[in-house]
Symmetry: C2
Subunit: 333 residues, 2 copies
DNA sequence: AAGTAATTTGAAAGCATATTCAAACTTTAA
DNA sequence: TTAAAGTTTGAATATGCTTTCAAATTACTT
């Protein structure tokens, strides 16, 4: 393997000049060309281990997800990886399996591996190790959920208005008894989506506490909640379920009850992945701009890495969009 | 940050002794204890950058997937990550987006980052950079598909027998006209699954070329193929689709044709993820033991890293299992 | 053409670790 | 008690890169 020493010799310049070339300092055109040629000829690759040892930077970004199999996280990381790798950052994946204790361990691991930045999916509460990252000025970006007890850049969906839009759309086409399968109050995402729903329902004067079900954002809880809700509220004409996995549970319950969508009940789901087009009828859903979100995360973290003194933490919101398919009926006709 | 120098001083031993301690050499019990205490007291963490510079090992494993959002890859990587991290290896993710050209680039990137091993999902053909990995004795494990033109450890599903079992089960309960939505002959997985189907159908004397459809393993192709097949072969009583995304397409087509499962047609899918329990009726599928597969990959790569001289490449097969639900009808009753 | 500004040089130090070696020290076995 | 075997020591060298510095060279201005 060629080193910068070899490159310097080949190009006929000094070692320091090559280093400055590699790190983007200005130098004479002639020298730049000679160095570029030498690098090509020798097939020189920077040794990131050596560089990192010196600079204390690893050129690696830790990405910590609640679950690798979570399609939401996976689809965001897909576009994030793209951008980061183009900027010569590698992406180290850690999966904390929705377990807060494991989260701290995984972060410690990443800390010991000198990551230059952290992307944290879906974390409600600060964990101790985050302070160490802050001390070392390693940027942290929170995704999907703001971290309570830790200030950092944050990328969120505008969950409140996503729900408002969903309710508004249903109301406009004649629905009044709109049920919600909610993730509950304890989580940020769940409570925001619920808040938007409540606000919109109240605004239209159709709010009724009995129409709210759920309490956890997983499939099984959603199944139970949907079963309960629909058994006891035969007047419900439309159901709004508030994330992908809850949609799965809700649909299972609707199937169990032998209700037909949209004849017996209209349905609007959240997140647009596999199931929305495979069940019959295809599902109308509230969709998140995951590719955009991934790119934004990348931009932020890159910007903060190059400018670690910037203590100005921002929260960026993205708008959801409704994708219309066949699970919602227009009651005005 | 404490260095091994600090640890040595604190423990009252020489620097070399600490290094030997950290690398698992034998030393006096008394010294081990003193060093352990010092490490704890100073909260010492090895610097992997420095260690890597010296040893030319990064303690990182590159994982190259066709798509991060591919639930099959994601669920395997979930258990792989667990095992590797416990052994102090980090996992660098690269997503080649089903693009062979990009694959070579991503591998080059990982090569330049000194990964100690590579896990390659779903690659049919060798790419040039693999030779460099071989030269440096960096182990490569192929998953899901053997790499033609490159010898390495390989972890596969026994696709042939998975199909044989599927057909056998259907035959036993009275099905004779069993259609298949196949990924086609060009890919390994697809052709193996097809081969098993053909062998079994012939064995039972019910083979008919007309019952075979498909040619690519993606959703849309499967949709088209299923539509064609079912339009022209009304006698088909059961359909076997041969991966998760093809199952999605096939179900969409069945819905489009307004056929009911299992009354009009029985259905057996492949891979057991979200959709199998969300559509009505729930799907009977051929399921892969993904957690086991992930662990096996980890074991192999760890073993090969510790013993790079071992040129004995093995192929390990896993058995699929049928998960019975409600999409298949017993015609004997 | 002279003066100023910009770039390059060569050498050296440093980053945290691993490994080597002969010499010194301990432990074990006879 | 002694010899043999096993550990540890301290110092040195190496890994590939960045950064520093005064001195030297080269490039622009007027």
């Amino acid at each position: 393997m060629a080193t910068i020493r070899d490159v310097a010799k080949e190009a006929g310049v000094s070692l320091g000049t090559v280093s400055r070339y590699l790190n983007g300092y200005t130098l004479k055109k002639a020298n730049m060309e000679k160095i570029a040629a030498a690098i090509k000829k020798l097939d020189f690759k920077q040794n990131y281990l050596a560089k990192g040892l010196k600079t204390k930077k690893s050129h690696a970004i830790g990405v910590v997800v609640n679950a690798l199999t979570d399609i939401f996280a996976a689809s965001i990381v897909t576009s994030l990886e793209d951008l980061l790798e183009k900027n010569n950052y590698e992406l180290i994946i850690a999966d904390y399996k929705n377990n807060i204790k494991l989260l701290n361990e995984k972060l410690k691991f990443l800390y010991s591996r000198n990551v230059d930045g952290i992307v944290l999916f879906h974390v409600e509460q600060a964990v101790p190790i985050l302070k160490e990252f802050r001390k070392k000025k390693i940027p942290v970006v929170a995704v999907d959920t703001p971290i309570s007890g830790f200030e950092c850049d944050t990328v969120l969906l505008d969950n409140y208005h996503a729900s408002v839009e969903a309710v508004k759309s249903l109301y406009k086409i004649g629905h009044r008894q709109i049920g919600i399968i909610s993730g509950g109050q304890q989580g940020y995402v769940g409570s925001e989506r619920l808040r938007g729903y409540v606000a919109a329902m109240k605004k239209y004067g159709v709010f009724d506490r009995e129409l709210i079900a759920g309490g956890s954002s997983f499939k099984d809880a959603s199944y139970d909640a949907t079963l309960d809700l629909l058994k006891n509220n035969h007047q419900i004409t439309a159901l709004y379920s508030t994330n992908y996995y809850m949609t799965i549970g809700a649909i299972q319950a609707i199937n169990k009850l032998n209700l037909r969508i949209p004849t017996d009940i209209s349905f609007i789901g959240f997140d647009d992945y596999d199931i929305s087009t495979v069940i019959k009828p295809q599902l109308t859903v509230v969709a998140q701009p995951v590719a955009k979100i991934g790119r934004e995360i990348g931009k932020i973290i890159l910007q903060k890495i190059t400018n670690p003194a910037d203590l100005n933490y921002q929260t960026k919101f993205f708008k959801a969009k409704i994708v219309w398919r066949d699970s919602v009926i227009n009651k005005n006709f």
